[in-house]
């Protein structure tokens, strides 16, 4: 059964009763929240996601007001992972963004069954593209555009590499967009479904883009890595791929990974296997449609 098949009422009730179990890629998340904006966000962005049977959940998460007297002092909310609160409280209207950050935190902090790199991952024609994230590089905008142009999204933030076969595993979750890129994407893709923005977060204005049905439907299909690409938006730049040193890419992905050092020698081997399997490029662009075209050519090459 999919989340979208629940009535609005049923969704809110299950969420409030700690009885909503959502499957996101390989993870079953038990979710608990009394907040209508969380229910609304889930309804808008996660309708295609399957519900879990709840017998065993990988993560138990809650977003809601703090317990006890503090709830009456300030309209703040917090994120809990099995009763532990890793973040500081936030204003109530950041609730959905907090849920998304919290779910990323759960995966990045615990799923050491995988090597986890800080990168976006998309797939087309059986080959996957890994885009390591540098802040301000325009990775999220590009990721959103590629997904909306036919690439299957595995993740906008976390590249999960299976330790047994080196393949990439998807989460298929909404793409996080910030500030100007929200409008850019909405303009280029008028049919794109974007959730209610949260203003004045520590990252500015944040909103989430609904994943394409194909990305959600095929989330269980692992992908073979083919390219590691470092994107960079630069005003007026021609869309252009150029070579990037694989040794340098290795060091970059290793130093920005979530658990490279934790995995020790295995992390080294998995990251090395990724570099072995991939062609490595820098990519510069300014116009989104040019970028999409260049990547389309790459996918058919």
């Amino acid at each position: 059964m999919k989340l979208g098949e629940l009535s609005a009422r049923e969704l809110r009730d299950r969420l409030a009763d700690n009885a909503l179990v959502l499957r996101t890629g390989p993870f079953a998340m038990r979710m608990h929240s009394p907040l209508p904006q969380v229910a609304d966000g889930l309804r808008r962005l996660y309708a295609d996601f399957p519900l879990g049977d709840g017998a065993f959940c990988d993560f138990h998460v809650r977003v809601g007001p703090p317990t006890g007297i503090r709830r009456w002092l300030k309209p703040q909310i917090n994120f809990w992972y099995d009763g532990h609160s890793p973040f500081k409280p936030l204003p109530a209207n950041h609730a959905f963004a907090l849920l998304e950050w919290g779910m990323n935190w759960c995966v990045a902090g615990h799923a050491h069954h995988y090597l986890m790199l800080h990168a976006a991952v998309l797939e087309q024609n059986g080959r996957a593209l890994v885009m390591p994230g540098d802040p301000g590089a325009g990775k999220s905008t590009l990721t959103a555009a590629l997904m909306l142009s036919g690439w299957r999204l595995l993740s906008d933030e976390i590249a999960l590499i299976d330790r047994d076969d080196g393949l990439l595993v998807g989460l298929g979750r909404p793409v996080s967009l910030k500030n100007a890129s929200i409008d850019v994407i909405q303009q280029h893709f008028p049919d794109a479904v974007i959730g209610a923005p949260a203003h004045d977060t520590h990252k500015g204005t944040v909103a989430h883009l609904r994943p394409t049905p194909d990305s959600v439907a095929r989330v269980a299909v692992k992908a073979r890595p083919a390219w590691v690409i470092f994107p960079r938006w630069r005003e007026g730049a021609e869309a252009r791929l150029s070579p990037h040193s694989r040794a340098e890419a290795f060091l970059h992905t290793a130093s920005h990974a979530f658990n490279y050092s934790l995995l020790g020698g295995l992390g080294f081997d998995l990251n090395a296997a990724l570099m072995d399997a991939c062609a490595c490029h820098d990519f510069e662009y300014s116009r989104l449609e040019d970028a999409v075209r260049v990547f389309a050519e790459l996918a058919t090459s």
Binding site: P26, A28, A55, F56, C57, D58, H60, D82, G83, H84, K88, H110, A111, H112, H113, S261, L262, L263, G264, L266
Partner: protein, 358 residues
């Protein structure tokens, strides 16, 4: 035993790891969270490795992840110990590893799947200054920015302020005794240093004798104010006792406890281990333990400690846990410092402004 009944399936599995093969998915869901909260997930994961085929598929990745974390920490502790040995090679005295680092380097039963934070070291008090100097040369620097913190540690406690390595961020706690100077139960470091045995592969590093490993673990736990890792420490004790138990060991343990004035915490340790983890402690050992508490006091202390041990996870807690934890916290401080120092200390802690968060 109310507390123990509520800590299922964690407690059942700690007593009998093979039971993990028979748990259903719902029980695994509870177990992973209880064990994770208690700091025991990696230990269970190591024990579960032999049973892997009988563990349900959705659970296995969590256990693999937990084993990975423990393996990494074990390797890191070994390497850090090497560096400590190198830094302190010029000191003409034994340098003892305590607790987690000792278990890891000496390959003792609590080691598999154990998670480590800081490395605890013990050096003779007379060498403390030289040890600190040598460590600073090698890149570790005392933390605890305020003068107050420095004084707290150096004058009143039994250790230097935690020393953090500038480049690696690893932390060393350098002690000169098992318990603070100001402690109500005075104990001596001399016999512990004298009884230590060298580590075969790390010249200059030693670990305490078996009896002292048990006594230190017991006095650390039962003088502790914070009980988040209480159950984990009890599991360490149980593992040590089971490994060392012998006709010779028990009387040695008691006589050493008397010598070091650690009979009281030892009593509590043996009692809790028996009740919680079914550790085979002979009845007469408990009955003849030096400095054992008067009979009337035992139910009260048991109730306190049980709640402390069960506080590891919310679904293990029972009524009165909040109050019990508070009492244990106060007791922990009370045991460390006399009132004339403790009251100003707690006031100072309450009034200080926390450093700005970034």
């Amino acid at each position: 035993m109310n507390g123990a009944e509520r800590c299922q399936p964690l407690l059942g599995v700690l007593r009998e790891p093979a039971r993990m093969a028979d748990l259903d998915l719902g029980e695994w869901d509870r177990l992973l969270r209880q064990a994770g909260s208690a700091g025991l997930l990696s230990r269970l994961a190591v024990q579960a490795e032999a049973l892997d085929a009988r563990i349900p598929a959705p659970v296995r990745p969590h256990l693999a992840a937990a084993r990975t974390v423990a393996a990494k920490q074990r390797q890191a502790v070994r390497w850090e110990a090497r560096r400590v040995a190198k830094a302190l090679a010029g000191l003409d005295c034994p340098v003892l590893l305590l607790k987690g680092a000792a278990y890891a380097l000496a390959d003792l039963p609590p080691a598999p799947g154990r998670l480590f934070g800081d490395i605890d070291l013990l050096v003779p008090k007379a060498q403390l200054g030289r040890a600190e100097g040598a460590l600073m040369l090698a890149g570790w620097h005392a933390s605890g920015k305020s003068e107050y913190d420095q004084r707290y540690y150096r004058r009143w406690m039994h250790e230097l302020p935690p020393m953090i390595h500038l480049r690696r961020g690893t932390v060393l706690d350098v002690h000169h005794n098992l318990l603070p100077e100001t402690s109500r139960i005075p104990t001596q470091a001399g016999p512990v240093l004298a009884g230590a045995r060298p580590l075969p592969n790390m010249p200059g590093l030693y670990v305490p004798a078996d009896t002292e490993l048990v006594l230190h673990s017991a006095c650390h736990l039962f003088h502790e104010g914070e009980w988040g890792h209480g159950l984990r420490d009890l599991v360490d004790l149980d593992a040590l006792l089971r490994a060392f138990a012998s006709v010779r060991f028990w009387p040695q343990l008691l006589s050493r406890a008397a010598e070091l004035n650690l009979g009281r915490p030892l009593y509590y340790a043996l009692d809790c281990c028996r009740r919680w983890l079914s550790t085979p402690v002979p009845e007469e050992i408990l009955a003849t333990c030096p400095a054992r508490p008067p009979v009337w006091q035992r139910p009260l202390m048991r109730a306190l400690f049980d709640r402390g041990l069960a506080s590891a996870h919310t679904n293990c807690r029972q009524p009165g846990t909040g109050a019990a934890l508070f009492l244990l916290f106060v007791r922990g401080h009370y045991l460390r410092m006399p009132w004339r120092l403790l009251v100003p200390h707690l006031l100072h802690q309450a009034l200080r402004r926390d450093p700005p968060q970034d």
